[in-house]
């Protein structure tokens, strides 16, 4: 074999060798809390989306939470398929942005949907037991309507006595004691030191008899 043929053969064999090494050494999944050790590398991380923000020029920024750890995610080209509360697997490169680690992904196709937020129906008691887990995410909650005001009503859990404040643009059609299912964003009201549910719009709220 002449030298030219050897160069081609060695290129192919070398790529195969590198592939073998990459299979052994590449992190398949990375824990969010340990992301700092992977700077510059392409990683996969799983978690729940919180604090989703659409930015100028069609980019998006969000946080990915897994248990108590957070990592910032930057989506270069965002087409709007994600929501806070979605459980996803993100594939991207670990970078530093203004001193903080983040995973930069090219577009939201690099974000694999594991579970859409509205696939899970929660009880008020579940929110009450671990509110930080759901903070900043969209949730679908079922419960019994408590006190009803013009733009506020309370969603209760009869057995445990919990009452979740729900902000809505309108409460017409709601009566005390009715069983309902509400979709909205679970947020923390820092001024009044309480958690509450913001219904994004009256039409979006799903009331079930």
């Amino acid at each position: 074999m002449n030298f030219r043929g050897f160069v081609v053969l060695f290129s192919v064999l070398g790529i195969c060798a590198l592939y073998g090494i990459s299979m052994l050494s590449q992190p398949a999944d990375v824990q969010i809390g340990k992301i700092g050790g992977y700077e510059g590398m392409y990683v996969k991380a799983r978690g729940t989306i919180t604090d989703l923000q659409i930015m100028k020029y069609g980019s998006a920024s969000m946080k990915l939470r897994n248990n108590t750890s957070y990592i910032q995610i930057f989506v270069e080209s965002y087409s709007g398929n994600l929501s806070a509360g979605d459980e996803v697997e993100v594939s991207g490169r670990v970078e530093q942005y203004r001193g903080e680690y983040e995973i930069a992904v090219l577009n939201d196709r690099a974000v694999k949907m594991l579970k859409k937020w509205d696939e899970e129906i929660l009880f008020v008691s579940q929110l009450a037991q671990d509110p930080e887990k759901y903070r900043g995410t969209n949730v679908k909650v079922t419960g019994k309507v408590g006190e009803v005001y013009t733009k506020i009503f309370y969603l209760g859990d009869e057995s445990r006595g919990y009452a979740l404040r729900v902000n809505s643009s309108s409460t017409s059609g709601l009566t005390k004691g009715k069983n309902v299912m509400v979709s909205g964003t679970f947020v923390f009201d820092s001024e009044n030191l309480r958690y509450q549910l913001d219904i994004q719009s009256f039409e979006d709220a799903n009331y079930a008899r």
Binding site: F3, R4, V7, V8, F10, S11, V12, G14, I15, A17, L18, Y19, I21, S22, S25, Q26, P27, Y38, E39, G40, M41, Y42, K56, Y57, G58, S59, E76, S77, E95, Q96, Y97, R98, G99, L106, N107, R109, A110
Partner: protein, 438 residues
């Protein structure tokens, strides 16, 4: 205000000096230089801490370090053409493909190539300043061409790749197109595997342990040097006078290089290498002189426009900008008036470009005059050794293997007589595949 301007000028000169030095070292990419400077920035900040006693705020000291890094990046794009011209030239009779600058060197016109590259780089800076406001309004609001381009990005990249391959031609028909396709895909598969591999620096320099360094050194740097060593070319006496070149053609080359350099500075996953290829295709069959001018203007325009892009979309597109963003607070350029930090940084760019222009020409003349006295083959062997040691120091044994494989892939182009730009598949193919969400 005068004191601040003086400090900006001083730090721009310091950065320029450093950039010229790093530019003269072959194989050291600007991004690596920026990251080295960033890792040294705490020492710089501590070292210049005494300025606080003279009323300079710590924030301004950080800005001065950013000025130094940016000036270094600009100067590097001027000076790095000198080793590119004078080193690694193959034997004209045996090489199937030869770089335009090497072709000029083998004609005894290495100095002329240096001057042309300096003209291309400085011209890109002039055009950069002239295009600053149009760029702001075309790429940013209200035209928002950035968003339009980004939505079509995957098709643009596929188009660039296809254009690269289909413009190969030879007397045997489609043989070159087939080889080019093979080389592009091989480089792409290599990029897919190696760019995501974790590399570890034996020196513990995590910021520099990127697989990009061995990959690009192997694909583009070492093959040229190895062929030069094996073919032992006869480098003629270098002339230090200039031939007359067409001002119209040169202006067109600078303009085309600047435009492509500016676009590449804006798009994700695209480097000045792709800009160079596109610009070269636009300016093809224009002679070696114009190719040299175009190449230099793309590189420098890219370094210039990543700065402007940084203040428009608040995202870094180069190593230098990653370093700068760690140092200074960001303020978006939304209106007509620029943020003050951008004004300071542009001032540094201007100073650096002007100094680098004259320094590059001066150094080019010295290189040309002293060149015959240097044992060419030994020099190339020394540089090869230096690059291999550097790759090992930054990326370890895995990096060395990546370098070896990349060098073999990089040798395919000159050995089979196709353009080595097909090796840019190393970046293009992974970006295309990921953008398609495969």
């Amino acid at each position: 205000m005068l004191a601040e301007l003086f400090l900006i000028l001083l730090f721009a000169l310091l950065g320029t000096l450093f950039g010229i030095l790093t530019g003269l070292i072959p194989g050291i990419h600007t991004n690596n230089v920026a990251l080295i400077l960033l890792s040294l920035s705490p020492a710089f900040i501590a070292g210049f801490g005494f300025l606080v006693a003279f009323g300079v705020s710590p924030e301004f000291i950080m800005l001065l370090v950013a000025v130094m890094i940016l000036s270094c990046a600009i100067a590097d794009t001027f000076a790095d053409f000198i080793p590119a011209i004078f080193l690694g030239a193959p034997d004209d009779d045996t090489a199937l493909s030869i770089l335009p600058a090497h072709s000029m060197l083998l004609d005894g016109r290495g100095y002329e190539a240096t001057v042309l590259s300096a003209v291309g780089s400085f011209g890109a800076i002039i055009f950069g300043f002239a295009l600053l406001l149009p760029f702001r309004f075309i790429m940013g609001e209200p035209v928002s061409l950035y968003v339009l381009l980004r939505n079509w990005m995957v098709f643009i990249l596929i188009g660039i790749s296809a254009l690269l391959i289909l413009t190969e031609h030879d007397e045997f028909g489609h043989r070159s197109i087939l080889i080019a396709t093979f080389l592009f895909l091989l480089s792409g598969v290599f990029g897919f595997i190696v760019l995501d591999m974790p590399m570890s620096s034996p020196l513990g320099v995590a910021a520099l342990s990127s697989a990009l360094f061995p990959a690009l050194t192997g694909l583009f740097g070492l093959p040229t040097l190895l062929l030069s060593v094996s073919s032992a070319p006869e480098i003629p006496e270098q002339k230090t006078e200039m031939r007359k070149i067409s001002k119209k053609e040169t202006t067109a080359s600078i303009l085309s290089g600047s435009i492509f350099g500016s676009i590449m500075g804006f798009l994700p996953g695209v480097t000045s290498a792709q800009g160079t290829v596109m610009s070269m295709l636009a300016r093809r069959k224009k002679g070696n002189e114009q190719v040299v001018v175009t190449l230099s203007s793309v590189n420098t325009a890219n370094a210039f426009f990543v700065l402007v892009t940084f203040f428009l979309i608040m995202r870094p597109r180069s190593g230098a900008m990653i370093a700068v963003q760690q140092l200074i607070p960001l303020e978006a350029w939304d209106g007509i008036l620029m943020p003050l930090n951008l004004v300071y940084l542009l001032l540094a760019v201007l100073v650096s470009a002007a100094v680098s222009f004259f320094a590059t020409i001066w150094l080019g003349r010295r290189f040309a005059q002293a060149f015959r006295k240097i044992p060419y083959a030994k020099l190339n062997v020394t540089i090869i050794t230096f690059l291999v040691v550097l790759v090992f120091a930054f990326t370890g044994f895995v990096g060395l293997l990546a370098l070896l494989v990349a060098t073999c892939i990089g040798l395919i182009a000159p050995m089979y007589g196709v353009r080595r730009s097909h090796c840019m598949g190393v970046l293009l193919l992974p970006v295309i595949v990921r953008m398609m969400g495969v």
